[in-house]
Symmetry: C2
Subunit: 450 residues, 2 copies
């Protein structure tokens, strides 16, 4: 006999946990099935030593991410500011600058203005989507600016830094949607006052763990869901290790590409939904950490925050911990470059990257004490970071059905969010959004059965 629940939630990342808590609070009988041996989804924290955490996955929160700050307070986890002890710098035209090129400043304004016209709830109804979703961000930049290096730089900062993709992979509309959902480029790209303002002690995974603890024993780890079978009015959720759970509602709270490649629905999902899920491709971000004895860059007046217009490294940030002497530079490679770099042998890869660090930080960057990376592409239950993006035309084709449930099957996850899409905040809100829908539906069901 299958265990019976009102709702089975698949995935114990921020979306799944938020949904579980919201549903539990209303008295619904729920269960969360998580494929991994831990909660937290696309976050993982490694401790190199006491007080020295390395956030291998998602890590920052910032202003207007209200639900995340509320959770931080509710669960009494500590936060600390991103370490900023100097000036942000930009490497372009083969030189180090204090500002991005003026053409870029203008373009940020142009893009923010375009983003304001995006209809977040019904993207397919946005005024210029027919053009904007059919042009890659890279190709569109070529229609706006002449300087190839500025075009490249803009693509790297916006398609790379935001969507962990190449500017040639995503449509202009995808970039605009993401920017609109994240309140504009200034907040999205910023540290103090922006999306990279604060860190969580123990990483967001520490917060996720507290949420899981609060949720309680009906969270089951190492449960790889393989099949969702509908029979009569019930769904039967079957796991790889042979467990079967019966439920009225299923909430899918995992990345679309994992969902698409790992879970079989019987009967099949409607064609549109299936195709929609196929069309959301995971980003490719490689995140590296170079740990040094001291944050030597601070003496040079540098914040550690750097953007590069060329080369493998797209951006770096000071990721040191408070109250520790060591300095940590965390840096990113995105999109096509991330894929190409992963093909190289490890030692060669490290050498190329260190050389680029030396270019901006000087010879002191040559010998890090530790050099770490985490390849989320390889994680079978994640399939790539930070977030998914539609292939061009995806919003045009599937914009209307992103959040549409299929019978009792609901869809959460940051990729479905309208506010802070791609962030923890979006994940939390998406989980709570679906919880609310399910609560209403369940009330109707209960009334019918009275």
């Amino acid at each position: 006999m299958a265990n019976k629940y009102d709702v089975i939630i698949v995935g114990a990342g921020f979306a799944g946990l938020s949904a579980g808590l919201a549903l539990k609070e209303k008295g619904l009988n729920t269960c969360i099935l998580e494929a991994r041996g831990r909660v937290g989804g696309r976050t993982e924290t490694k401790w190199l030593d006491k007080d020295m955490q390395i956030d291998l996955g998602g890590q920052w929160i910032g202003p207007t991410q209200d639900r995340m700050y509320e959770l931080v307070e509710k669960y009494n986890v500590k936060i600390f500011p991103t370490q900023l002890f100097g000036k942000e710098k930009y490497y372009y035209f083969n030189e180090i600058h204090d500002q991005v090129p003026p053409e870029m400043m203008t373009m940020f304004d142009v893009i923010d203005d375009l983003a304001k016209k995006v209809n977040l709830e019904a993207p397919q109804k946005s005024p210029d989507i027919n053009y904007q979703d059919r042009v890659t961000f890279d190709a569109w930049l070529h229609t706006q600016i002449d300087d190839e290096e500025v075009i490249e730089f803009l693509g790297r900062i916006l398609a790379g830094g935001l969507l962990s993709s190449d500017a040639g992979e995503v449509s202009l509309f995808q970039v605009l949607y993401y920017i609109a959902s994240g309140q504009g480029t200034e907040i999205l790209l910023g540290s103090k006052g922006g999306a990279q303002q604060d860190r969580i002690v123990g990483g967001p995974q520490a917060l996720a763990s507290k949420m899981a603890e609060d949720y309680g024993s009906e969270l089951k780890l190492n449960q790889v869901v393989r099949t969702v079978r509908k029979m009569d009015q019930s769904y039967f959720v079957e796991t790889e290790n042979g467990n079967c759970y019966e439920t009225k509602f299923v909430l899918m709270a995992l990345p679309p590409s994992v969902l698409n490649s790992k879970i079989t629905f019987i009967p099949e999902l409607p064609t549109m939904k299936k195709k929609m899920l196929q069309n959301i491709l995971p980003g490719s971000a490689s995140k590296y950490h170079a740990v040094y004895d001291k944050p030597f860059w601070r003496k040079q007046g540098l914040s550690g925050q750097f953007n590069l217009s060329q080369g493998w490294i797209m951006e770096s940030i000071d990721n040191s911990n408070e109250n520790r002497e060591e300095g940590i530079i965390t840096f990113f490679v995105y999109g096509v470059d991330s894929i190409k770099l992963n093909e190289l042998p490890e030692e060669k890869r490290k050498q190329l990257l260190i050389n680029e660090l030396v270019k901006v930080y000087g010879e002191q960057a040559r010998e890090p004490k530790y050099f770490l990376t985490q390849d989320w592409n390889e994680e079978t239950f994640t399939n790539g970071c930070f977030t998914g993006h539609f292939a061009p035309c995806g919003f045009l084709k599937y914009g209307a059905i992103i959040r549409e449930e299929v019978g009792g099957i609901h869809w959460a996850g940051t990729e479905t969010a309208t506010i802070w899409n791609g962030y923890f905040e979006g994940a939390v809100r998406s989980g709570e959004r679906e919880a609310e829908k399910i609560i209403k539906k369940n009330e109707l069901l209960s009334m019918k059965n009275m």
Copy 2:
């Protein structure tokens, strides 16, 4: 105990059947597992009456598709020419014309010239791929021409008619690759002397059936492969209904998106291969057939071959049978339009389409005797037609590993072909290509074991 084979082939379309026959000829012990209850993959023939076949899927062959003509001869199936009794027509600028606009003729030449530079074997080494794979075909057309209707028309004919996608979904490079592999736009778009020259009596499925018969009893239908598990030097191929086959080599001969969503590999595929498979998205073609008492358009001097620059219908063709009085107009809707149209109720959809037929063929088109369609998007073991395309940047990222085997796992299917990619011919050649590789590897294995 598992049954033991040298090679298990997954999929009995043209790639799988060709591979099976080539391997069997060399004395290898092989087995083909097919998910459906029939062979032939993306082809299906419906008989409305004796001698009146309706090809619901792939149907044409043409010059330079040498392997297909050899198979037709070997298996003694009959072919007949596409019915052409009048002039091809083009509907644009709100009028019917005998020729495409002159700007389009120029662009065909420009595109053919660009296609000549494509490196089919190593696409990632093509000279201009860094630009060409990062711009959608639609956006690139906007850099070449001013007239919006001409741009739209070109996108529909090339991205639509060839790749069953919207010009905003595919990169310029994807279009060029396809054109290069199919010997240029003139052959690809043509009927007599081109890719739509001949039809097969009973459809290509009749040919596939004869190939299957020749192959023999080791072709097993209704075997849905779910898991490919490697243990020691063997692979164990497990089906949904609990069968297990042991083999030295596995040949995957099914569409990439089906492969990606249906089959679990243990251990997992290398990350690059997995991401590559995710990045090949199935096209969206809807194929409709309107059957009339007579081919009335011939009296108007029309061939039935029409291209439209606007509206749902992208192109039509006379698909009547030889020696039958009825006339059949077959027409196509592609890409975003195909998805949007499928969302409409059936009766409304039919009305919109018939209205468009009336626009070009007159009131006689108003009342077809039969009106048929086949939605390949809904077919779970096909997932969309005609063929798959890379999302933009896909060739840049994964061009080097399209055909790269993973241990004893090989990859066939028309999406892997360098010649006639996307066609039956490409499928056949891909199957024979991998058969040859496996034969060589198997010889080496045998020598080692002597």
